[in-house]
């Protein structure tokens, strides 16, 4: 690191790093220089001229923009002398020459940088009396964002964001001179997954969000910090609430996680919270119909029945599915409830999807999100990060684009990162293991040679046709190649990593401990010795009637299943099904009792993200009706069943977790609220009890059929929360099948025509999408789409045009 340089700003001298921008250096040392276009996370452009300051580097004072000039040793800067003030007044007067004064109806009014800086640095009056430039008032540039060109001050923040950060350059300056305007291209809506960020960084009200439009003014919002429950990286955000209703979410600049960016799903996905479909009272099925009952009645009923079943048939006859949708405290309560009260090890939060629980929770050399910044190579062999892990996508994209990190992407079709990848490899759906053994046999030399030095391997299930063990095999392969790579194993589902850390897997106990009766935490007492079943195992046992009762916690095995009939038949056979959930889902049709749960923003607690970072989430609104947090429902149930857990409050649960879960030692709410606002990565001191070393599994051979089916997750699907979001629910692509143009020609399919897709496990009609990103011989069908048929996991497929 080079020597710090000394600069003098407004008479105050301080040392800063050489090469730093003057505007940033001054701000870090307490001198705010006004600005519109400069943003901490983007490259400077010097568009708005608001940051003009007088700088003397020995050649006499000069007016320069602080955002484009780097600090130099001995620099003297004046940010508020008469000349600077005059320049600032002039800049503001020019900006306001065309900016309409419709602040009272503008969503930005009250928190607008232009408003604030016009008050602080402006001349107060304008000499311009001419009529202002007019445009058509807001034009929708996407389903979520409105553009008001009259208000735009041409700062280029949105255009730079879409080019530099999100990689969807869909919004750009058009025309020149006085006619310059920002706009989208004809027939190309601003359909970026990250469009909401441009609303957040717009320094005026030119870009506004539809869900927030005219809903409130900044001064009647209450705020609290929290983290998103959609993206498993848990981007940090601020919840803005008025009248007990969430009105918007705003990204918080968290250095290790999200750099203030949020995907639109994380930003606008709050709409489900006040959906009218939310469960708000306990429901009991009587004569086939669900009837509302009181909590005490419902709890008595459930407690007595479950108690009876445990007594008659033992804990093995009970299945507990889910638990990944709540906080760590909820998951801990469920884990303890299942083991000590229900006496069962049949618990599974992964729902049988993706890599194994041991690999997800306790993989050796677990990587951090920030590790991609200083890696030599990032290998992504997993789902399309842009679709499933947007926060990670932005970090990887930045590393490849701005920080010179080599990026290798291996996926069955084009992904959002391919345009920045140093090398890409495609493989046929189901052929992952074959490609992996080819790679270790020395083929694709130019790709494997990149896997050396500091490697971050981001691994997960890329395609439904892939064996779930592939991700672990890839990690093992990278370890063979590169020694000690950083491994980031990917999974979906809100708080899956936290749930596994709390022991919600048949072979795990809280704090990343391998299951064993002797390893039971002290307050738990005796726990069952018999190894439990995972979700597919539990569904099989249900079909064989070995399991009598099912407890679903935020889980929908039917909706998630690729063969829903199997899951629904199994649940139908269950004697007693209890569901704790926020919405009615497909599986709840089989539930005998449904208990309403509190969800996002309705409970305090902690959650753990994909790198093991524990963050605090906060309550700001009450749950609808009589909804309660999971831990409190389970606590009361345990009392009814005569084995009271006495959990008390989420904070006392957090203390209990810190005491009994080895990897969570030292994690307290105080720490997360004060000293570790960005969260703390567990284990704090580096030692974790269980270290899972990835093993290379023998893979299956790739199917040799001419046409193969690739099914993968996309950002917007038919998840129950998204389904209940007014704006986001329209964005799901629906039942579509992506086909390569040549393949389409062969099939005789054109864009939009209906095609029949048939596999061994299902068939259905899909709209054809002609897509060059999907290789020939492959059909890509986005998973879990509203109205789409389930096709099973078998990749062999037949496609015909419906006539």
């Amino acid at each position: 690191m080079s020597e710090p340089v000394t600069i003098k700003v407004d008479g105050k001298e301080f040392e800063v790093r050489p090469g730093e921008l003057l505007i940033k250096a001054a701000e870090d040392h307490g001198t705010y220089i006004p600005r519109f276009c400069w943003h901490n996370r983007m490259k400077p452009v010097g568009m708005c001229r608001m940051c003009l300051v007088e700088v003397d580097t020995g050649r006499g004072p000069m007016m320069v923009t602080a955002c484009t000039n780097e600090v130099v040793d001995g620099m003297t800067v004046d940010t508020q002398n008469e000349a600077v003030q005059k320049a600032q007044e002039a800049v503001l007067e020019f900006l306001l020459a065309n900016h309409p004064l419709d602040c009272p109806v503008c969503d930005k009014g009250g928190e607008c940088p232009l408003q604030d800086q016009a008050m602080a640095y402006g001349p107060g009056e304008s000499r311009f009396v001419e009529i202002k430039r007019t445009f058509e008032k807001p034009i929708p540039i996407s389903e979520l964002v409105l553009l008001d060109r009259e208000r735009c001050i041409l700062c280029a923040r949105c255009t730079r964001f879409s080019e530099e950060i999100s990689g969807d350059p869909l919004i750009e300056f058009q025309d020149r001179g006085n006619k310059t305007e920002v706009n989208t291209f004809p027939d190309h809506p601003f359909s970026s997954y990250f469009s909401g960020n441009t609303v957040q960084i717009c320094p005026v009200g030119a870009l506004t969000a539809k869900p927030y439009r005219f809903r409130a003014r900044p001064w009647d919002l209450h705020m609290v910090e929290s983290s998103s429950f959609f993206d498993t990286a848990h981007p940090r955000l601020s919840i803005h609430v008025s009248q007990n209703e969430i009105l918007r979410l705003v990204g918080i600049d968290s250095e290790p996680v999200n750099h203030s960016w949020l995907s639109d799903k994380d930003r606008f996905g709050f709409e489900h919270v006040r959906s009218e479909n939310r469960l708000d009272t306990p429901l009991v099925r009587r004569g086939g119909e669900l009837e509302p009952v009181s909590w005490s009645e419902a709890l008595d009923m459930v407690g007595n029945r479950l108690g009876l079943i445990v007594e008659e048939s033992g804990g093995d006859s009970i299945a507990v599915i889910g638990g990944a949708s709540g906080t760590n405290e909820d998951a801990y309560a469920l884990s303890r409830f299942a083991r000590t009260v229900l006496q069962t090890n049949n618990v599974d939060a992964t729902m049988g999807e993706g890599p194994s629980a041991h690999f997800l929770a306790a993989s050796i050399d677990r990587g951090l999100i920030a590790d991609v910044d200083d890696a030599d190579t990032v290998l992504v062999w997993g789902p399309d990060l842009k679709e499933t892990h947007p926060t990670l996508y932005l970090r990887v994209r930045r590393a490849a684009q701005e920080l010179g990190v080599n990026l290798v992407v291996i996926h069955p079709r084009v992904t959002g990162l391919d345009d920045r990848a140093t090398a890409t490899l495609r493989y046929r759906p189901g052929g992952g293991h074959e490609l992996l053994s080819d790679l270790s046999d020395g083929s694709h030399e130019q790709v494997t040679s990149l896997i050396s030095g500091k490697v971050v391997a981001i691994v997960g299930q890329a395609s439904l046709a892939d064996d779930p063990g592939l991700a672990e095999s890839v990690a093992a392969f990278v370890r063979e190649k590169a020694g000690t790579p950083r491994i980031i194993p990917l999974a979906n589902r809100a708080n899956i990593y936290g749930a596994l850390d709390m022991g919600l897997a048949p072979d795990l106990l809280p704090g990343r401990v391998a299951y064993g009766p002797e390893a039971a935490p002290e307050p738990w007492g005796e726990i069952p010795a018999k190894r439990g079943l995972d979700t597919p195992g539990m569904l099989d046992a249900l079909s064989e009637e070995k399991i009598r009762a099912v407890l679903l916690v935020g889980a929908d095995p039917v909706g998630n299943s690729h063969e829903p009939e199997l899951a629904s038949d199994a649940l139908d056979l269950a004697e007693y099904v209890v569901s704790i959930d926020t919405f009615l889902n497909d599986s709840n049709h089989y539930a005998d009792v449904i208990l309403p749960a509190a969800g996002f923003s309705e409970k305090d607690g902690t959650i753990t993200n994909l790198e093991g970072r524990v963050q605090k989430v906060n309550k700001i609104i009450p749950a609808p009706g009589q909804g309660r947090p999971d831990w409190s429902i389970l606590d009361d149930l345990s009392t009814v069943m005569g084995k009271s857990m006495g959990l008390g409050s989420p904070e006392t649960i957090a203390k209990e977790v810190a005491a009994v879960a080895p990897a969570y030692q030292g994690i307290s709410w105080d720490l997360l609220e004060w000293d570790a606002r960005d969260g703390a990565v567990v284990p704090l001191d580096g030692e974790q009890p269980l270290t899972h070393i990835p093993v290379r599994a023998k893979g299956t051979k790739a199917p040799s059929a001419e046409l193969l089916l690739h099914q993968g997750r996309v950002m917007y699907d038919d998840g129950v929360r998204l389904r209940n979001c007014h704006y986001l629910s329209r964005l799901a692509p629906g039942p579509v099948a992506h086909i390569h143009p040549d393949e389409a020609k062969r099939l005789g399919a054109r864009e939009g025509v209906a095609v029949r897709v048939v596999t061994s496990k299902g068939e259905g009609e899909f709209a054809a999408r002609i897509d060059e990103g999907t290789p020939e011989g492959v059909v890509f069908v986005p998973l879990h789409q509203p109205g789409a048929a389930r096709l099973g996991t078998d990749p062999v497929v037949r496609v015909t045009v419906v006539t």
């Binding site: 419709d102 009272p104 109806v105 009014g109 009250g110 107060g124 009056e125 008032k137 807001p138 439009r213 005219f214 809903r215 409130a216 003014r217 001064w219 009647d220």
Partner: protein, 216 residues
């Protein structure tokens, strides 16, 4: 001696007041509610929501009145205008507008904050109700009809002065919108609420010219 003269002095005040009262020139009490006292022009009474002469609502739902209110008695929510049949000019209108008169301290800051002169105060001050719910005035009660008439809460009450809502103080502004000190103390106000239109504020130059004219 003293006693009689003191008695005389005291009774002189009583007697003269009695005579003045009988004569009618010294009346202190008015026969309210049959008779109303004169109220100053800028009396702060019940609010009204105004319309433009073409019938459009002036309120744009910006919530500045609610933000300015020191008693926190105003609740406003905005909504997007239907371009086919807009409620107010522009994009936004106030679709919820409520004032809790029990909390209101009639300070008039809402009137000052309003950027469109949508809310003004009238002379009506009789707002007694028999329950708390009725003390919350909504758009229905506050908004004048399209002819410029303001709905009275007790229109059938023979004692009510229906004119109080119409002959009232309108808009009062202490300084020019630009905040230039030269405008301080130059109060501009309009004696009528509602549909009446008024001339725009004169510029500084016009004002200077006018005052020069006065001098010459």
């Amino acid at each position: 001696m003293g006693l009689l003269s003191e008695l005389w002095r005291g009774l002189k005040v009583t007697g003269s007041t009695m005579l003045k009262t009988i004569g009618g020139s010294g009346l202190v009490t008015t026969e309210y509610p049959k008779e109303m006292r004169h109220k100053p022009q800028r009396f702060h009474g019940r609010h009204v929501l105004n319309r433009y002469p073409d019938g459009m609502e002036k309120c744009i739902g910006c919530q500045l009145c609610a933000g300015a209110c020191p008693a926190d008695c105003i609740y406003v929510r905005g909504k997007e205008n239907d371009p086919e049949s807009p409620v107010s000019p522009g994009e936004r209108y106030g679709y919820v507008y409520e004032i809790n008169m029990l909390r209101c301290i009639f300070c008039g800051l809402c009137v000052e904050a309003c950027p469109t002169e949508a809310i003004t105060m009238t002379h009506l001050f009789e707002m007694s109700t028999t329950n708390r719910q009725d003390a919350i005035y909504t758009r229905k009660e506050l908004l004048m009809d399209e002819s410029g008439k303001v709905p009275h809460m007790f229109p059938d009450d023979e004692l009510a002065d229906l004119d109080e809502l119409n002959t009232a103080d309108g808009w009062l502004r202490a300084t020019a919108p630009s905040g230039v000190a030269a405008y301080e103390g130059v109060q501009m106000w309009q004696g009528t609420p509602g549909a009446a239109s008024w001339d725009p504020e004169p510029s500084q130059e016009e004002r200077d010219r006018a005052s020069e004219g006065d001098d010459g």
